[in-house]
Subunit: 189 residues, 2 copies
């Protein structure tokens, strides 16, 4: 048995930094999910996904197991445990979100990549606070670009979801039409 719990799915502005040091802003959807499986062993994975609503082939994945988190915690001097981490990460993203429209945001998401094009090489997502003195990196996560099989699986999931949404919308449309037409006939009588 495995269970997926969506904790966040949100479009956020990131500052893209390529190998040429040129910077540009781009919207990236960040999705955070908790994958819990109970068989064969009880296992929890935090899955972070970066996608682009306007580019179906843009897909970065990061899976953080409890063991991965221990290394991350040690490397980056984090003070929270694995269960508290997702909410802490979401809080940081919300802080970036709140500052998105500002000219000089205090909290900023920065996405750095080394390859020629974004999507073909690993990328690093940093949550950076800028105060009057310096840049402080609150969190730094390293993502792998998805391969073709992962992209096609992701697209198939998107397609299934949007088909369902379209179906719900069609039913709602039918119901609205029927309800309002009925009311109209009553009112006209």
């Amino acid at each position: 048995m495995s269970q997926v719990q969506e904790l966040l799915s949100r479009e956020l502005k990131v500052l893209l930094r390529g190998p040429d040091c040129k910077e540009r802003r781009q919207n990236v959807r960040i999705c955070i999910e908790l994958h819990i499986s109970s068989t064969p062993i009880h296992k929890r994975d935090l899955v972070v996904r970066m996608t682009d609503d306007s580019d179906p082939f843009f897909l970065y994945n990061l899976v953080i197991s409890e063991d991965d988190f221990q290394s991350l915690k040690l490397q980056q001097g984090l003070l929270v445990d694995y269960t508290a981490f997702p909410q802490k990460f979401i809080d940081l993203l919300h802080q970036c979100l709140n500052e998105e429209t500002k000219d000089a945001p205090r909290f900023l998401l920065q996405l750095s990549y080394s390859g020629l094009v974004l999507g073909s090489s690993p990328a690093q997502l940093d949550v950076v606070e800028t105060n009057s003195f310096k840049h402080l990196t609150h969190l730094s996560l390293r993502f792998q670009p998805a391969n073709d099989v992962e992209v096609k699986t992701y697209l198939a999931t998107c397609l299934r979801c949007i088909k369902e949404e379209k179906c719900v919308l069609q039913q709602a449309m039918k119901k609205t039409e029927e309800d309002l037409s009925r009311q109209l006939i009553c009112a006209q009588q």
Copy 2:
């Protein structure tokens, strides 16, 4: 410049024949497109695609260029030329469609594959007429299963189309609601 002209997109019943000789019926969507490019050289390709509305990973492609058609014509003793072929093929498919609900259809689409699972190996689509004397194969087309890159490109196209359809539906829903509400207010006054 290249141009795509959709000639047919239709769900049809096919008789699946695997290597174990077991037969089963399945719905397959057959899509026929004419791809015309004018640069660098004028070129026409007939693209036939088999997909399954319920399985996003099912994708078979066949591209028939004018040269390919000459071999096909020779091999199968066809009497039509390249420009007339698509309509002839569509007519055959419609004949199968008309016989779909019959217990002993005279025209039948047959899809044979040799691999363990359909989708992993080449497959052959035959339009077969069965009369009281024998089975007559009117047309036989050999399809290659799509690779991961082709599947993800196909899924991205599906996703773009369905997003557009959803958007149109949302606008129609809004307009219907507004129109009927306005009429209702008028009628109630």
